[in-house]
């Protein structure tokens, strides 16, 4: 026979435990379905499935071996790498067709969007916080024009330092090669003896 008081206490403890478990489950559920960088979900689906493997992948892997900066043209000139204008995609794809029907369907989407003049709303995958200034051009300059072999890379090799081997990714994942948190930046800045003053990155 359990005294009455213990039953009340046990019920209370049980309710609290249930509440805590429910809360944890809720947090997991929310993070499971929300996108990076906080969530665990995959990269957001792009309006047109763009395979980096087919474009930038090496010729041996069935790609075209294109340079990163052929499409992300601003990467050697300015702050952001930029997604190319639709016209640039269309310029090749008015002639180049997809290998199979599935690929052709995606290219058709692109050609239709271009001829209708409707912009494609690409989903942004990598996003830095608002208070960070990151200049792609300066980093590429550092890694291509340095004195040591480590800093005399090709442009497309420089991209892999932070973004990983995008040429081998079917779609770019938000959980990528580097976490792109402040520690990542600082490790590298210290390694190459670059200033680590706050105002170098924070604006």
């Amino acid at each position: 026979m359990i005294p009455k008081g213990n039953i009340v206490a046990a019920t209370l403890v049980g309710l609290i435990m249930a509440g805590i478990t429910g809360f944890i489950l809720l947090v997991i559920a929310i993070s499971w379905f929300s996108n990076a960088p906080f969530g665990l979900a995959n990269a957001p689906a792009q309006p047109i499935a763009f395979p980096h493997t087919a474009h930038a992948g090496s010729v041996d892997d069935g790609g075209l071996g294109m340079e990163c900066e052929f499409c992300h043209r601003n990467v050697t000139k300015g702050d952001s790498a930029t997604v190319p204008a639709l016209q640039q995609c269309w310029y090749c794809h008015q002639k180049v067709s997809g290998g199979d029907e599935e690929a052709q369907a995606e290219i058709d989407k692109l050609v239709t969007a271009y001829s209708d003049g409707v912009p494609v709303n690409w989903e942004r995958v990598h996003r830095l916080p608002d208070h960070v200034r990151f200049v792609h051009e300066a980093h590429i300059r550092h890694f291509t024009m340095g004195d040591t072999p480590e800093t005399q890379l090709e442009v497309k090799e420089v991209c892999t330092v932070c973004h990983g081997e995008v040429a081998k990714m079917e779609e770019v994942q938000p959980k990528q090669f580097q976490s792109l948190k402040m520690g990542t930046c600082l490790d590298c800045h210290r390694k190459y003896d670059v200033p680590t003053d706050c105002t170098i990155c924070h604006k």
Binding site: P129, D130, H131, R133, V135, E137, A138, R141, P195, D197, C198, T199, I200, H202, K203
Partner: protein, 258 residues
């Protein structure tokens, strides 16, 4: 150990040229994403500008002279705001700038209370803009949130931009010549219609502002020049020099005789 300082930014304000037009105030507001100072904010005494024009009247009625004093963050060498920050959100960087790191700031407001010049401001409200102005926000400057302190940065985003541009185009470090050639300066300096504000590197021998600082440091307190720094007697070592206004009545008098 001798720390080599490449730049030490400074400013010279020629009060003789200042007409009190408030151009610098507006330019700063636009450049640095400052919220619009509405009537409500003024009534609450929550309106702020990173650079303000202080106006003083001198003399009695018919012979009144208006004196203007643009006051921005003085980027003190011995800044009173820095040691009081518990989270190291404000510190002195190696270019002589007094830096406010917004994402570190927790809003204790100690620095505001300790600032001699009243040039640090607290965001009591979430800053808002009319919808038609939201696209004019400067992407190079953080939009500060409620609950943190902010202040003049000497437009550090423009200095960084200048450094990167000069290194890319000319493969040299930023210096006075390249800075002038590419026309890099803080927004207030750029906007000043009478060129009353001058911005430059105190350490650079060839810089146009170097002479003023040289003179001030060499003849401390006994200088014949017009240069002075506001409240320098309390030892804050500001990086902004003000050039005394030349009395116009005397000038006209001597000119008519000469």
């Amino acid at each position: 150990m001798v720390i080599k300082i490449e730049h030490k930014w400074g400013m010279v304000v020629d009060l003789d040229k200042c007409t009190g037009c408030n151009g610098c105030v507006v330019a700063c507001q636009a450049e640095n994403n400052l919220p619009i100072n509405t009537k409500d904010l003024f009534m609450q005494k929550r309106a702020f500008e990173w650079i303000r024009i202080e106006r003083y009247w001198e003399g009695e009625f018919p012979n009144v002279k208006a004196r203007y004093l643009p006051v921005m963050c003085q980027h003190c060498g011995n800044a009173p705001c820095e040691p009081v920050c518990p989270v190291y959100a404000t510190y002195h960087n190696d270019q002589g700038l007094n830096v406010q790191v917004y994402n570190r700031c927790v809003g204790t407001r100690y620095c505001i209370n300790n600032c001699t010049y009243q040039v640090r401001f607290f965001n009591f409200w979430e800053p808002t803009w009319p919808e038609r102005l939201q696209n004019q926000l400067n992407p190079d400057v953080t939009v500060r949130t409620r609950g943190i302190t902010e202040k003049c940065t000497f437009c550090v985003q423009r200095i960084r931009r200048a450094e990167i541009t000069v290194e890319r185009r000319e493969r040299t470090k930023l210096n006075d010549k390249t800075m002038a050639a590419r026309n890099f300066m803080p927004a207030c300096v750029q906007a000043c219609p009478t060129n009353a504000l001058m911005f430059g590197d105190q350490n650079n021998q060839e810089d146009k502002i170097h002479g003023y600082f040289e003179e001030l440091h060499n003849h401390e307190g006994h200088s014949d020049s017009r240069g002075y720094r506001i409240l320098e007697e309390i030892g804050t070592d500001p990086s902004v020099i003000y050039l005394k206004k030349v009395d116009q009545f005397k000038m006209e008098h001597s000119e008519s005789h000469g």
